[in-house]
Symmetry: C2
Subunit: 356 residues, 2 copies
């Protein structure tokens, strides 16, 4: 691997599942909601990849409106690390743009693409998997990481393994959409189905070639854009909005997958935060000073800026999720974590959009 | 009633049942926890009695340490309205002292004694009852107010009615301790048992005479104290600590009771606050901006100083009590309201007494 390694950090996400912590101006990746860390998810993400590429080789792609907050969360990255998308055009346009930029800076670059809002508990396992994926990609094969399932999860897409190529690396058999419960149970036991963790590895040249072949309109637009930086706003808005998965990855030949296990989680909701958190003997998890009396299996997440001075007391309740920010408090059963959107919708109806 | 009317407001209370709102330095009477009012309970109390006596005729008896906060809660009362007890010596010493002070200022005074931490929803009914009690007391008979029970309450003492004397006024038959459930049910139906609301009415001279007769040691001590104001600290500490009920009221002859009903509540816990509060169609009560989604019979009480800017969202839960202050949050089932003391005890054990 004598090629220079670059990273594209995908930070365009929005979403409501972590309200009241997440807001339209403060999406998930900017929050310190990994219960095992005090850093915003995006800062943990960049920290994880620093073993593979220097700060100058990190490109963070986010929405224009989120640029200031994103820059603040990553103070050690240089200004040239940030790409602000004028409008959201899905991941193919975003990754394509960043890869064009990287190819200008280093035509022989090896590139890793990582989401900015996931959690990883086994850093050594993560590093080993990335190492293998980069090695695989350096041969010219676009490579993804597949995470070995630990439960029959219906919320993720799966990758079916093809031929074994050595070093935990396989040809990709097929991509599988989010399965139903029965299918997920089969997948979890098969040993041949992995979770798609949304991480991609390639040489800049192999991705540009794949764009030319499978998304030629996008490739032409991006090519014009990088030749005339003044045209970004106009051209980017006109690009087709397709995902890198459906638009490209699922179509290219010779795709590889590195199988790995490193305590990966997509941190999909407050329920996931409880699952990842350290717990007391009664199953209570707390971020911020909390007193539990006759209470079990609760999650308390105090994200107030002045939380050092305060305390949460939880008496006689089970399975609740209690989240505090400076301007909002949420109390719900953990099992309703998927319904937080209902609160956000109700706030909008009430004319309280500034809290969403 | 040509006699001048004075009031003694009993504000020595402490207690933990309204934690996290109540603290040792900020007891119940100083809190705005009557859900039908924005005033601290003691300010509502003084407002209610202002129809009967001018501010100069109000004496507020509280612990020395609580004087500054009590004065702040009652800014329109003159400095001469406040009596600071150097140590707690129960209600007989406190009421006796205040009555001695009143007798010095106006020997023919008619005196009403009212707790500072109760709630009254029917102001006109309250005024009518006080009017009758003052009229009864002006004859020289120590008079109490008995509240007609609206439920078989086991948490209150009861007064059994004796001979009817007209104008809803009766001789007192007997005082009854807090009853068991069956007895309370009988009392609630009997029409002859009233709740003891802890309000007393008397002429200063009749109370001083009763003190001489039933608590002579206390009377002598108080007499010395008011003759030599410099001796308050020393003498008050040496006084016997007995309650006005057991030490005096239950012993005097010719005691009368005025029967009344005026939406009285002793506001004993957060559960009582929920009972008194206005509720939505699902039985939710909120003090502070709150959004209820799929939620029923909850109480939200936001006592933060900056609560105007924030919001509480309650999703998918029933029967919870959620209380916020600037430095603490309490979440518990409403039915556990009597167990708040467990939280306070646990905080002390943890070395967090500053939050109690």
């Amino acid at each position: 691997m004598s090629r220079p390694v670059y990273a594209i950090v995908l930070a365009g996400g929005s979403g409501t599942r972590f309200w009241p912590a997440s807001r339209s101006a403060r999406p998930k990746q900017l929050l310190a909601i990994d219960p095992t860390s005090d850093l915003p998810l995006i800062a943990s993400t960049v920290e994880r990849i620093e073993g593979f590429c220097s700060p100058e080789h990190v490109l963070v792609a986010t929405g224009e409106a989120l640029l200031p907050a994103t820059v603040s969360a990553l103070p050690h990255l240089p200004p040239s690390s940030f790409l602000g998308e004028p409008v959201a055009r899905n991941t193919a346009a975003c990754i394509g743009w960043a890869t064009f930029v990287i190819a200008q800076r280093a035509p022989d670059a090896l590139v890793m693409v990582v989401p900015s809002d996931q959690a990883v508990s086994d850093r050594a396992g993560y590093a080993a998997a990335v190492e293998r994926a980069l090695r695989s990609a350096s041969t010219g094969a676009i490579t993804v990481i597949g995470v070995r399932p630990t439960r029959p999860e219906t919320g993720y897409g799966y990758i079916e393994l093809g031929e074994a190529l050595g070093e935990e690396t396989y040809a990709v058999g097929q991509f599988k959409e989010k399965p139903d419960r029965d299918t997920a149970t089969l997948y979890a036991k098969s040993g041949r189905h992995l979770w798609n963790a949304g991480m991609f590895f390639f040489t800049a040249q192999s991705l540009l070639a794949a764009l030319d072949e499978h998304l030629p309109e996008l490739a032409r637009g991006l090519s014009r854009m990088v030749e005339a930086p003044g045209s970004v706003r106009e051209v980017f808005s006109s690009l087709p909005a397709v995902s890198i998965d459906h638009g490209l990855i699922e179509k290219v030949s010779g795709l590889r997958v590195v199988a790995a296990e490193f305590g990966w989680s997509d941190l999909g909701s407050w329920e996931t935060a409880w699952e990842l958190a350290a717990k007391d003997s009664a199953g209570n998890a707390a971020h911020g000073e909390t007193l539990f009396v006759d209470a079990a299996r609760n999650l308390v997440f105090d994200l107030r800026t002045a939380r050092a001075s305060g305390l949460t007391a939880v008496l006689g309740v089970e399975g609740l999720c209690i989240v505090q920010t400076d301007d909002a408090l949420l109390v719900m059963p953990r099992e309703r974590a998927q319904d937080v959107r209902q609160v956000v919708d109700a706030l909008k109806e009430r004319g309280r959009s500034e809290l969403t």
